[in-house]
């Protein structure tokens, strides 16, 4: 998908004035936050698990090359095949090649954020394959021709009425009438339609929440069961995974699974957690004949050991989105690419380039709620600041803001000048406000005063008050 991240400001304005979107966002936000809080309060060991989870990821990343080789070796030992891809183009080419060799026509797809990242559906459709998203949320946005707006709830921006209308238009031919209003009716409709797709698909594509080096397994975490049907019924199973998904053992995955479900949906564990290890065995009655893992780099090996290294701990739970005041106000589409919210504001500039992605790290108050709720303790505000630093260094920001920052930095490093300037500013604003204590409008600050008053400084500067009040002796 072509990023529209550079237009974040316009996207956000549009989102804020979209009444239907605001209605959907209001419904979603509170639910996720409350469920996560309840799940955490039920598990006194959560903090200890969080520490352990971070240690597992740090250890694995520090030995990533060893673990990837070990994983590859185990996949091969079980009769599967690993395909390495540096870029989205290479990853798509690997998938196309597997599908063409299998003589496939129809492809059933489970949810995969790496799949979105490499735009595998576009590549498959361009090559003449029929691709059907089978996760209900992904199916909804596929037929709406929209990207996901949340990494675990892709259609969270859609209302029930919008979904019913989409289904009505697509599925209902004249003469066929099924009522489509309630949630059960909508879910049932998707179940009926997608059932045939599962049964006739030649290839099933899933994502992977984890890769297990010990066993060569790929792990998916779902609630609907669509990922399992996609990986079981077709002749070929392809798992799409990025390189940082690998962990050493089944025990390590168990620690991360406890963190993932609680942080994402507030569940203790999802309905289905499945470990796929190779293709169908000789005496199995079902399962695919081929098992492929496409390992995608797409810039991750460059993050290793660098300023954004810690972002590689991310397990894609979505907690940072759910707790972000900016995401909650504008939704995921405003971010203009695949990954929204705080984790997206860190990842997007790394994947689509800082020139395109630079509005995202700036669209943050750095309030720190994301870091607080992150089960992997990723210092997201620090990484957002790092993007801002890069932006300044590479002279990508507008000259006016760069000039203002440089002027501020000049003063901030000269305490007596800084004190004089703040003293001057305080007394000037005091005088200008005429004792009313606030401004209804002020030159150069219309962006602030258009929606609210700007408080005028009260009394003296902090330093002046400190000098006056500090205890003597």
């Amino acid at each position: 998908m072509k990023p529209t991240t550079a237009a974040f400001s316009d996207n956000a304005h549009r989102a804020l004035h979209d009444a239907v979107l605001q209605q959907a966002l209001a419904k979603a936000g509170v639910g996720f936050v409350d469920k996560r809080r309840a799940a955490l309060s039920d598990l006194p060991e959560f903090a200890a698990l969080r520490e352990a989870g971070r240690a597992i990821k740090d250890h694995t990343l520090a030995n990533l090359n060893h673990y990837l080789l070990r994983f590859e070796q185990q996949v091969a030992a079980n009769g599967g095949q690993v395909h390495w891809a540096e870029t989205p183009e290479e990853a798509c080419a690997a998938v196309l090649d597997i599908c063409q060799r299998a003589g496939a026509k129809m492809i059933a797809k489970g949810k995969s954020m790496v799949g979105e990242e490499i735009a595998v559906n576009d590549a498959l459709e361009a090559a003449g394959f029929e691709v059907v998203e089978t996760d209900l949320g992904e199916y909804i946005i596929q037929i709406a021709h929209e990207p996901p707006s949340h990494i675990i709830a892709p259609a969270v921006h859609k209302t029930r009425a919008q979904i019913a209308k989409l289904f009505e238009d697509l599925h209902h031919h004249p003469g066929l009438t099924r009522p489509l209003e309630t949630v059960p009716q909508i879910v049932d409709e998707a179940r009926q339609i997608l059932r045939d797709k599962f049964l006739s698909a030649d290839v099933g594509i899933t994502g992977a929440n984890f890769l297990i080096a010990e066993t060569g397994s790929t792990v998916i975490v779902t609630n609907e069961g669509n990922g399992d049907l996609s990986a079981t019924l077709p002749r070929v199973h392809i798992a799409l995974a990025s390189i940082e998904k690998v962990v050493p053992t089944l025990e390590d995955a168990s620690v991360l699974l406890r963190l993932l479900a609680r942080s994402a949906t507030g569940q203790e564990i999802t309905s289905y957690t499945t470990f796929f290890t190779g293709p169908r065995r000789a005496d199995d009655a079902d399962g695919p004949e081929q098992f492929h893992v496409v390992l995608v780099d797409n810039g991750r090996s460059r993050m290793l050991g660098g300023a954004y290294h810690e972002m590689l701990r991310c397990i894609r739970c979505g907690a940072c989105l759910n707790h972000c005041p900016v995401y909650s106000a504008v939704g995921g589409h405003a971010y203009g690419w695949v990954y929204p919210g705080p984790m997206g504001a860190v990842l997007t500039p790394l994947m689509v380039g800082l020139d395109e992605g630079r509005p995202l790290p700036n669209a943050s108050t750095l309030c720190g709620r994301c870091e607080e709720v992150c089960p992997m303790s990723i210092p997201l505000p620090k990484l957002l600041r790092e993007h801002r630093r890069q932006e300044f260094e590479r002279k990508l920001a507008a000259p006016r803001s760069r000039w203002a920052l440089a002027a501020w930095a000049f003063c901030a490093r000269r305490p007596s000048l800084y004190r004089w300037a703040t003293r001057f500013g305080v007394s000037l604003l005091n005088t200008l406000s005429g004792g009313r204590g606030r401004f209804r409008s002020l030159p150069l600050a219309q962006a602030w005063t258009a929606a609210r008053d700007l408080p005028a400084p009260q009394g003296d500067t902090f330093m002046a008050q400190w000098q006056r009040r500090k205890p003597h002796g």
């Binding site: 060991e45 597992i56 090359n65 949630v183 045939d196 203790e268 289905y272």
Partner: protein
């Protein structure tokens, strides 16, 4: 692709300052240790915990004393749900001895698209989360776990282990390693993709019914 592999591994090795080997001693030791993370604690016995958690995720259960009660239990379930006497059962030794009543349509095979009811046997149960672990194999086709509307699963009480890590230990001890598909199943299929409203029976089974057998 071979070039991509060496390019990716090369960049990683450069960033980490060591060459890639699948059998680096520290890694081999780490993989073979199977060290456990912090283990959640609780007061109840495994059976009580399992049943409480199963119920919490909308799973149902019935307790039976022996395999002589399987037919009656299934019959009761079918009657309660107003379902026909037509089911597909796993070719599992625990179910092989069951004699189904005359007139019932019982197949022992993998599931197909139009199968409504299935019966399989769990490898073990996990008390911590009320999960069933099923291992794919000739005696446990994976399609039985996902295709039918009603999934019935036999679980011997003695096969309930406290935590996921205990299930891995059991798996290694009895099977050596994981089969093609290792399914952890916790309640029926569900979705919250329409307005965050939880709806059971998305693509997998609408109902999950556990037959807990004393053994």
């Amino acid at each position: 692709m071979a070039e991509s592999r060496s390019a990716i591994l090369g960049r990683i090795s450069q960033a980490l300052g060591h060459e890639a080997t699948a059998d680096a001693p520290a890694v081999v030791q780490r993989v073979n240790e199977h060290a456990r993370g912090p283990q959640p604690q609780w007061a109840e016995a495994p059976r009580e915990r399992f049943l409480a958690k199963l119920t919490k995720v909308a799973g149902t259960y019935v307790e039976i004393a022996s395999d002589a009660e399987i037919v009656q239990t299934v019959s009761d379930y079918l009657a309660a749900q107003n379902l026909p006497h037509r089911l597909v059962v796993a070719p599992h030794p625990l179910l092989a001895k069951v004699i189904w009543p005359e007139g019932w349509d019982v197949a022992s095979r993998r599931a197909q698209g139009d199968d409504r009811i299935s019966l399989a046997v769990a490898f073990c149960g996990i008390a911590e989360t009320g999960s069933l672990m099923l291992l794919s194999g000739p005696d446990s086709p994976t399609t039985l776990n996902f295709l039918p509307d009603d999934f019935l699963c036999l679980l011997p009480t003695g096969r309930i282990v406290p935590r996921m890590e205990d299930a891995w230990a059991l798996l290694r001890a009895e099977r050596g390693g994981p089969p093609r598909a290792t399914n952890l199943i916790t309640g029926p299929s569900r979705t919250a993709d329409v307005e965050q409203t939880i709806q059971l029976g998305a693509h997998g089974p609408r109902r999950l019914h556990v037959l807990l057998i004393a053994a």
